[in-house]
Symmetry: D2
Subunit: 406 residues, 4 copies
Amino acid sequence: MEDVSKPQDLGRIGAWFVGARGSLATTAATGLHAMARGLVEPWGLTTVDDRFADVPFTPFADIVVGGHDISSTPLVERATALASGGMFPRELVQAVAADLERTDADIRPARVGGPTQQDDIDRAASDIADFRERYGLRLVVVVDVSSTEPLPADHPAFHSEDALRDALSAPGGTVLPASSIAAAAAIQAGAAYAGFTPSAGLTLPVLQARAAAAGIPFAGQDGKTGETLLRTVLAPMFTARGLKVLSWAGANLLGGGDGATLADPEAVRSKLASKNRGLHALVGDDVVAPLHIDNVPDLGDIKTAWDHVHAVGFLGSRITLQTTWSAYDSTLAAPLVLDLVRSLALATDAGQAGAVAELGCFFKDPWGSDVHAFAEQTAQFVSWVERTGVFASARRASERQPIAAR
Amino acid sequence: MEDVSKPQDLGRIGAWFVGARGSLATTAATGLHAMARGLVEPWGLTTVDDRFADVPFTPFADIVVGGHDISSTPLVERATALASGGMFPRELVQAVAADLERTDADIRPARVGGPTQQDDIDRAASDIADFRERYGLRLVVVVDVSSTEPLPADHPAFHSEDALRDALSAPGGTVLPASSIAAAAAIQAGAAYAGFTPSAGLTLPVLQARAAAAGIPFAGQDGKTGETLLRTVLAPMFTARGLKVLSWAGANLLGGGDGATLADPEAVRSKLASKNRGLHALVGDDVVAPLHIDNVPDLGDIKTAWDHVHAVGFLGSRITLQTTWSAYDSTLAAPLVLDLVRSLALATDAGQAGAVAELGCFFKDPWGSDVHAFAEQTAQFVSWVERTGVFASARRASERQPIAAR
Amino acid sequence: MEDVSKPQDLGRIGAWFVGARGSLATTAATGLHAMARGLVEPWGLTTVDDRFADVPFTPFADIVVGGHDISSTPLVERATALASGGMFPRELVQAVAADLERTDADIRPARVGGPTQQDDIDRAASDIADFRERYGLRLVVVVDVSSTEPLPADHPAFHSEDALRDALSAPGGTVLPASSIAAAAAIQAGAAYAGFTPSAGLTLPVLQARAAAAGIPFAGQDGKTGETLLRTVLAPMFTARGLKVLSWAGANLLGGGDGATLADPEAVRSKLASKNRGLHALVGDDVVAPLHIDNVPDLGDIKTAWDHVHAVGFLGSRITLQTTWSAYDSTLAAPLVLDLVRSLALATDAGQAGAVAELGCFFKDPWGSDVHAFAEQTAQFVSWVERTGVFASARRASERQPIAAR
Amino acid sequence: MEDVSKPQDLGRIGAWFVGARGSLATTAATGLHAMARGLVEPWGLTTVDDRFADVPFTPFADIVVGGHDISSTPLVERATALASGGMFPRELVQAVAADLERTDADIRPARVGGPTQQDDIDRAASDIADFRERYGLRLVVVVDVSSTEPLPADHPAFHSEDALRDALSAPGGTVLPASSIAAAAAIQAGAAYAGFTPSAGLTLPVLQARAAAAGIPFAGQDGKTGETLLRTVLAPMFTARGLKVLSWAGANLLGGGDGATLADPEAVRSKLASKNRGLHALVGDDVVAPLHIDNVPDLGDIKTAWDHVHAVGFLGSRITLQTTWSAYDSTLAAPLVLDLVRSLALATDAGQAGAVAELGCFFKDPWGSDVHAFAEQTAQFVSWVERTGVFASARRASERQPIAAR
């Protein structure tokens, strides 16, 4: 197999993962290296499609991975553990071990707790800038794939640039949660940004304003991988057929690191809110929608979700639908992370800034859009890619011309 | 509750059901009368939607029901039996009993076996014409909702008007199956036609040519109600996400009349072929797709379908999805039959003829279209309704003007 | 159909339901009357079986129903509402309406809040005694089928007869929860007792001592109807085959009155504890067993339970089992309530006193037994019935003999 | 980990597998070697249990494996392929590779087509005898784990020793199917025999007579592993609770070698008959029980079975239960094969001959027993092991005594 992404030489880009040694980032890096080497088919990717043949998406071989993490476990060790759980073959890890070791060298410790939070931001931003320069990358996309945080209580500094600046320079300050420190660093480094978790990150209004002012494109929030994807596919079926959904109950079982994180009731609260938002938007606020996430360590990285839908149809007759979805969450999410890197690079190439609403198909809680129906989101994405691809190609073409010819 | 369909006076239309005393037609008639009286919400209907507020769909109260059937069991008796099985409340049957009895009087015996098959067609067509005149209907829509027939072996008369004419006038001839006799009668009576079963009906090329020549609109084939609806909603999710579907197995359990019909291996063959066609179109011909329909009389009219999907995702990881759908098949199908009556009336009003491909969302095997993805079909339908509604309104407006004003 | 229970004349007995107007008691009364009239098959009953042909179980026609309730809604009204939800045919309610109205007259208001709690007990006990005398009943069985209470905090009066006596005679005292007042009244009235809920009832040590001293037989606790029944059937399969169960997750959806009660987190706590106890006993304390009960009002009285079991087999290979159970909880429970009435009557006839451990098959949390495996419980029950039947028959025979012959 | 089976020195025994290179035999051999080396826990085994601590079951380390197969693929290669499908870790295969290679040397080609079928039997029997002598085994147990054959048409030679002898000596004769040749060879070699498939094997009356005359113990038929095990656990629950089962539908999906074999309609027929027999015995012959087995190659060795049960309870109310069972069929079956080897060795030690009905818990279609309820079968097995263990111990003790002491 060859690298299926197009080989035209656009120059390399960087993918900077916040949480670069977690299951998701490890899977994404492993898969990226494997695809770049032509070892695996690009299953699970949305940006690889015959209809995108003329779109200047960055080839996998031209994406360099770096990131931040508090852990120092080598990626090969993490990937080997994931392979043991059956997620992918161990041979694959061996085949890309050298690539993963090189990536290891580009992962910097995620340190917070400097004299001020502005110092933390400065250091993180300079890690990103160094990475860009080290490899001569034409752009970097930061993706937050770190563990879900509890949501912070509201604060005046979330709404005012002045208040934020003061708070960040206060010695020992803690106004921003770690995910928002990372987002602020991305903005400061001029990198595009994707929020793949439900954490605060770039959601704070003051940071969205900063991002807009900095002219970077960004997209979020909370990757739409398994159960929520399924729900936003099924719910429009009921409404299109005039069937009234009365209740939609869900039970999620998962182990692995994600299971442990979500066993924390605070962390799970932001996740649950995010999961149910699309459902309410699609079938109405009066739907009864109990939802549970349970940490079941023995299930490992396989996530199993059971949904039970009760709807009423013609003449009040009863309709029930049950779904059981079972998959490795990290292998559902990882290709989307790579799709986001390639899409936000495309947006940057085309000169877009602000929330890219047309990337809503990747998220549970899409920024800049109230469309949740997956088929509609997909149509918007496809049309955006085609449109943006033309712009990006034109812009690059003009940039490449010798100055005299412009 | 009031009749939710619009009360503007367009004149009455006829809904002529082939198989008018079956479970499906009985449910449709019961529901139509109940909605006309404002007794129930129009759940399950696609043509009742706020966005269609300006579309001149015929109000339920202006639809008169008639039809053919070989049975003579009164509709109230059939409806009461269905109510006993829990499909709808018995009180509802009582509330529309007088309406059902009136409909009884407009159901003619479905007799075949006249001297020639042309005689059978003539008699059926004249039943339809009489019905139209008796009520001063501005148009009639014929819907085939009879039991699934075995598919006939191919025959030269299916492909040549001359050969057909000869075969139909041969004494004691049996070239056309009953469903095609009914379709020929609809054409001869100038009625729009919908094929809601997988039977031969209007699929014979020679009849499609006749229908086109007669200038009637028609649509088919085989109503997309439960499991197949679900499949054409889910399959595009997998492809949009780049997930490769390897197998899609299905088990269907049902009792009732449909269960008994489909216990016949010949009848079930046409059903199974029709059910799997969309799946192959959506996820590829190499998908392994065993499919069974079992007659389980104790389950009555509730149909239960289990599907098991196996797909492969990023780095070859395993994804499985199981769905269990449980619903009364007749209450899923009946509103679609009414939607088709209203939609083909609209098409007639707008002067359309031939296969109406944009009604594909109602069918397992859409005539004139190779789109199976339900969301895409729905978008096509919505756009068609809006467009056709404007035409139909304009045409009626011009017809209503006094001649001098034209 | 005739009454399937044996017609030999043993004299009538009383079934006194605490919570006599709830869904469960209403279903039990409706069914009892219907079986006594031979209108329905005795499906769901354990005490009707060919192998018990010689056991002197009281015929249904000889069981008189009375009870306590705080509600005053007539039984016919309650039963009609249950029939509307599809639990049983409305015709059945009409056929036994006169019987239900007679039962209505034997249901007394469940009043607490007398001057002292001893007064409450006295009044409840005298209601039971009056009932016995009014009908000349040879014995009465009290069954607590009222709503689940929150569990009370421990109290010295739960452990000492003296402390209890003092607390009960304290003006305005509230030491006993309502379910234990009812249990104390049963003991005082000399009635056998079954605790069909997880409420405190007769579980207080001081009340168990009173019951033993009073020489009455009793059994409990918390009826084993749906999901828990299934679990105690399946869990022994895994252990018998040497398969190690790692996790057993459960999701329960229900509406109706039970759903509303269990939406109270305090009430649900005692229920959940009771539900998981058997599982831990059967597969070990280290099993991961998250369990949820959600109130989903639109589902009405149908309870749907999904379980997901993960076990490890030979060479560490993965085994998963999912079950979805869907049934009307009240029709699962009601026949067990009638079985308990007949079984405790048999125990009384045979002169047994104290906890009847062999009735464990009816309970989630069997008193006097640590056997939870359903097949084993069933074998114990069958053997107990046969043994006890012989004793009961012998005792009655000797009682009937003229004194001179003894 | 140590070998959990008891180390007392009884002398070695042989396990001779018919189909010794198939998935099942490969899994059994791999697991046996791994347990003998103390590398894995004995999960999935029935004969390893604290209550059997005093029973003289042969330790795993004392079981030598040999067999017949038409294939010559080395066991390590087969085991590695199974490990790739996720059935067990590849490291395990490496750890026992030397043991598997030794076993390879004891697998003889399964050749049929000698001058007469008696020649085929003679050769196969002499392979078994050689194996016994080569290792000084005190006994050999033959287990048929080969692919399911189509059932042969009845023949007079199946019922008469004389007719059989004639037919076997006829040049070029084909009266016996391969599985019965293997059974006849076991009898001739004086080996105990277990029929783990639904093939004819030892079911022919003439062979059962030979086996009885030869004084060997035998057991069968068709291993009860997944769906059927579950059914014989669940069905008794319904009957114990007086619930009437109306239908029990099943869908089985499997790939691997078994899937391919059962794609043959002839082979599947014997399987389906065997699978439904227990169900009919447990819930009655009038149950509607459609059952399908589909070959779905992409699922590999994981078998997924969906069952849908419809029962009627108190007052005719509807109960449904769905189960989805998913497991590697070979790892469910392999420990049972080892249990059978150990159990038939115990029976031999205790001097038993003929069909051992108490081994019914291992089979879909138990010889010598009409008990199908799994809990009851388990109780019979446990009691038989304890009883037989005492006999076997006593017999060995007397054999070991010096002659003078007898």
